[in-house]
Subunit: 147 residues, 2 copies
Amino acid sequence: MGLCDDIACLIDELLRSEDVAEFGRAELAGRVGCVPSQINYVIATRFSPERGFAVESRRGGGGYIRIRRVAVDAGTLVMHTVNAVGDEIDLRSCAALTANLRQSGAIPEGAERLILAAIGNNALREVPPETRDTVRAAIFKQILINV
Amino acid sequence: MGLCDDIACLIDELLRSEDVAEFGRAELAGRVGCVPSQINYVIATRFSPERGFAVESRRGGGGYIRIRRVAVDAGTLVMHTVNAVGDEIDLRSCAALTANLRQSGAIPEGAERLILAAIGNNALREVPPETRDTVRAAIFKQILINV
DNA sequence: TTTTGACTTTGACTAACTTTGACCTTGTGT
DNA sequence: ACACAAGGTCAAAGTTAGTCAAAGTCAAAA
């Protein structure tokens, strides 16, 4: 078992005992014996939004990294949707998925309109068309995870 | 928890018990055990006008610092905010503006988190950093208009 | 066996937040 | 005027976390 898995295990443990794992990056790195940035790698690969985690952090004195498992109860459908979205997605597909979520009550009343506003071509007009679907996918997923 | 948070907590408490927090800078600093100017830092970062606070102060003998929570008109505040956002805006400013809107009840409960998710660096990771603030401004305004 | 490609590991550099202290400005009382 | 008593400003130093690209590992494919 490599470092990566050690770290992932440690975080998993923290998440088992409590609903949220909070720790200092350097502190955790020290406990495992790796460079701090390794923590970022593990978070990026194992605790990504796609896998159902939300990550917050703060730098400076008293800084921390906080990882929450996103509630799965009412949001399984949301999670499924997130997983279904690949690296890019067009507006029409987003609209369909969002409507679906709304219809099944997985997202609240006003959220649908807000989501579509955030990822519409109007909002993304500064993004070059070639990358627009990629950017849209990232925003879309990020929103759903935080709904 | 660092000094910063301690001080912010203390002030928050004062604001809970009364509608206005009034104290001497040196006195508060002494209570927490920090240099007086630290108080200014906390006020600047946590009790700024953007976050919905009004601060008055006076120097000299009997000097004081007074912090009031400010109530703002909810409906027009959104429009004001949209107008205040230029062609580009950084994440911190967005966060401050959004927190302010939320606090004054101009946007519904869950919307703050959702907005921040949509314009966070995580959502915009596919957007080149040079244009990120521009894209963010467009999305931010588009969302607010549709909230 | 060699090559390739996905996954890991590392560390130099960067960005964000905090803490401190020296020096400045303003108000009050003599 | 003068002295003292506040609060204000700002820049340097300290403390974290984030990013990115180079190097390492290892197993599957050629």
